[in-house]
């Protein structure tokens, strides 16, 4: 794979992740929007990830903990569990397991905010990209016919895409299924009221969220780490950075994770809030910083980060990751070629089973 192609691939991954977060924000905004009063429901709550306990009767994950991508508590009788699947495979066979797994949300969860911890019922929403929508809908219909999928609660497929006109909008469409309340369902079917992107990014409550319960592409997380380290430098170090052009900061991945979570992750403030970002993600990003020569590994979770005035950090992170991608692809291609050479009679099978 050429480096330029790898760069495009990494940039696309970053854009997909950012889009997914925007889509979740758009849906949160929509589900909390009160059409009558033309504002967000005052006591509504949004959780970009929340650890929920499943019941014994859960068909997929009994007596376990699951973390849906988004939970919205609009009122006592209206709550939603959302799973975003924006990076689905084009191959229906590869998609199948991911779709079947969504049934784990068809359960009476414990862990909702409030004294009881339960809600009467919730609707389940699968959020997919506009161009995946019809295929996913048809496949789910087939899975239901084949009795491999069923829902006791309301289940809806909502698609999302960005619309460019005089301004950028987020458009959501209910492609299939039922949602409460009926007015919301009708509005989402009509998709005549897109949401302005700038309202989402400046939303005081969740505008800051840039991470959800899925590993972000490394360049995004590295950029967030770079920003966070700079934002938490003492003013003496800021001065030193301006004067000498360089300052070293010792970081612990655990502390760094906390700071990242505070700046970019969901903040619900209780023990059901998932650790976003996960410590492993931060550790892996720090390893990449070491590869880039911006950081040194001291011991266990301790790193020394060298802060410099880097002019375009994202480009450097993207290039580094693209080189990694390119190397991996080349390595895999070489291995495949070797295997083919070794077993010439099975060339077709090897080719078919390549990852």
């Amino acid at each position: 794979m050429k480096l330029d192609d790898a760069i495009s691939q990494v940039r696309d991954e970053c854009d997909n992740y950012i889009q997914t977060v925007q889509a979740l924000k758009a849906l949160a905004n929509e589900l909390l929007w009160d059409e009558g009063k033309e504002r967000l429901v005052i006591n509504g709550k949004v959780y970009f990830g929340r650890k929920m306990d499943t019941s014994h009767s859960n068909r997929i994950s009994p007596d376990a903990q699951v973390t849906p991508d988004l939970l919205v508590l609009r009122s006592e009788n209206e709550s939603y569990v959302v799973e975003a699947k924006l990076a689905l495979s084009k191959d229906p066979a590869k998609r199948k397991d991911k779709l079947i797994e969504i049934q784990k949300y068809d359960d009476n969860f414990y862990g909702w905010d409030g004294s009881k911890g339960y809600v009467a019922s919730h609707d389940i929403i699968l959020l997919v990209r506009f161009f995946h929508g019809v295929n996913v809908r048809d496949q789910i219909a087939q899975l239901k016919t084949d009795k491999k999928m069923k829902f006791e609660r309301n289940f809806a497929i909502v698609t999302f895409h960005r619309v460019e006109e005089t301004q950028t909008w987020m458009s959501l469409e209910l492609l299939d299924g039922i949602l409460k309340p009926k007015e919301k369902q009708d509005k989402l079917i009509r998709r005549d009221k897109p949401i302005s992107l700038e309202l989402l990014v400046s939303n005081p409550q969740f505008g800051h969220v840039q991470l959800y319960d899925a590993r972000p592409p490394a360049p995004l997380l590295m950029h967030q780490i770079h920003e966070t380290i700079l934002a938490t430098l003492p003013s003496e170090d800021n001065l030193l950075l301006m004067e000498t052009g360089k300052v070293e900061r010792e970081v612990d991945t655990g502390e760094l994770r906390e700071m990242l979570s505070e700046s970019f992750g969901p903040r619900n403030g209780d023990d059901r809030t998932p650790d976003i970002p996960k410590r492993a993600w931060v550790r892996d990003a720090m390893v990449l910083f070491v590869k880039l020569g911006w950081s040194k590994h001291e011991e266990k979770s301790k790193y020394v980060y060298e802060v410099r005035q880097r002019r375009n950090p994202l480009d450097q992170f993207v290039k580094l990751c693209a080189r990694e991608v390119s190397k991996t692809v080349e390595m895999k291609a070489k291995m495949l070629a070797k295997e083919k050479e070794k077993y010439p009679l099975f060339q077709k099978i090897i080719e078919k089973e390549k990852p």
Partner: protein
């Protein structure tokens, strides 16, 4: 003794009272010299700043406090290989505060260049407690209008101004031109003309005629210089500009996540009357402009058709998300840390180097 040296030796003495300093500044102007000054925003008391300036760190950086009470005399080493030998002697300025307003003044009789060196060295050392505030054309206009409305006998004559305007030629590599005009007009007609021609002000030199006479210049970075009638100029023009500085600071300050009890950031918008971004090439031009901001890093996540970028200000670790999702505005969302000085710097840079627009609060939903 050289004229400038003589003036400096008389000006830079320990003044017991602010009134004595003002008298000395007036004498400098009377003798044909000029005083330079600055209005800075401060979030602490001057004693705290002076204590820091008296510390070893300041000494090592060539900053010394030469007097024991306000107005404090500060001396700053202005070294640099490119400087002429006579400028390596250092620069001096007086510093005092206006307590209730959170304002610090600087006053010096150095030349403009030397004063800027001194001022930026002090600002950098005392950042983020001390920050520079920038004013837009509309703010300077309103301030001067208020001044003439409050004092009917006072008139302001514009003698010179520097402004900027857009270059319409699509083949041009520059977006903005700088214009300089020498004139003798009422300030209202000058601002009217600027508005009609869609120009924005960089600096304006005024003659103040009222109970007394004064002449001086004010700039969008809240610095000023005075060549005649210092006391009157300070009481009228500087004082009214100071009020605008306080308003700007209050509007733009404390917008980052860490300033809010619930960690909510407060976004703001630079809005234009025209659909500037209907031509998508302007996204690229904005990116190029922002790349020119000193001591900063710009990362572009999405360039077109909408713009999404992240801006890091290395001077104090502030950072922002920059969005262009409409045809007539730029949305700036402060992140974890965004100091007043940094927000001022970023907004002014966009307004001065890209195009001046109206800065508005954008509360979202």
């Amino acid at each position: 003794m050289h004229f400038q040296q003589k003036m400096e030796s008389e000006f830079y003495v320990v003044h017991e009272k602010l009134g004595d300093l003002f008298e000395a500044a007036s004498r400098v102007c009377y003798r044909g010299g000029q005083v330079q000054g600055g209005i800075l925003s401060c979030d602490t008391e001057i004693d705290v700043l002076v204590e820091r300036l008296q510390g070893g760190g300041a000494g090592a950086r060539g900053i010394k406090v030469r007097s024991k009470k306000s107005p404090y005399l500060i001396q700053v080493r202005t070294d640099g290989r490119r400087l002429a030998p006579e400028k390596r002697k250092g620069a001096k300025a007086f510093i005092w505060e206006e307590k209730k307003k959170g304002i610090i003044y600087l006053l010096s009789c150095e030349d403009r260049e030397n004063f800027e060196r001194l001022s930026s060295k002090i600002e950098r050392y005392l950042s983020p407690r001390l920050s520079k505030i920038f004013l837009r054309t509309s703010e300077i206009r309103s301030a001067l209008n208020r001044l003439t409305e409050n004092s009917k006998s006072l008139t302001l004559r514009v003698r010179e101004y520097t402004s900027r305007s857009l270059i319409d030629d699509p083949g041009s590599h520059k977006r903005v031109r700088t214009n300089r005009e020498w004139t003798d007009e009422d300030h209202r007609s000058v601002f009217e003309k600027l508005s009609e021609q869609r120009e924005w002000i960089s600096a304006i030199r005024l003659d103040v005629c009222g109970q007394s006479l004064a002449s001086g210049k004010i700039r969008r970075d809240s610095t000023f210089s005075c060549a005649r009638g210092f006391k009157y100029f300070f009481r009228t023009v500087v004082s009214t500009v100071k009020d605008a500085v306080v308003r700007s600071r209050e509007f733009l300050g404390k917008r980052d996540q860490q300033s809010h009890p619930k960690r909510f950031a407060r976004a703001l918008k630079i809005e234009y009357e025209q659909p500037v971004f209907s031509d998508k090439r302007q996204n690229g031009r904005l990116v190029q402009t922002l790349k020119g901001l000193r001591n900063s890093a710009l990362s572009v996540f999405h360039p077109n058709p909408y713009l999404h970028a992240s801006l890091i200000d290395y001077t104090d670790g502030s950072s922002y998300e920059i969005w262009v999702t409409t045809q007539n505005s730029i949305l700036i969302v402060p992140k974890r840390k965004a100091t007043t000085g940094s927000i001022e710097r970023v907004c002014d840079f966009i307004c001065d180097k890209f195009q001046e627009g109206e800065i508005k609060d954008f509360p979202g939903q």
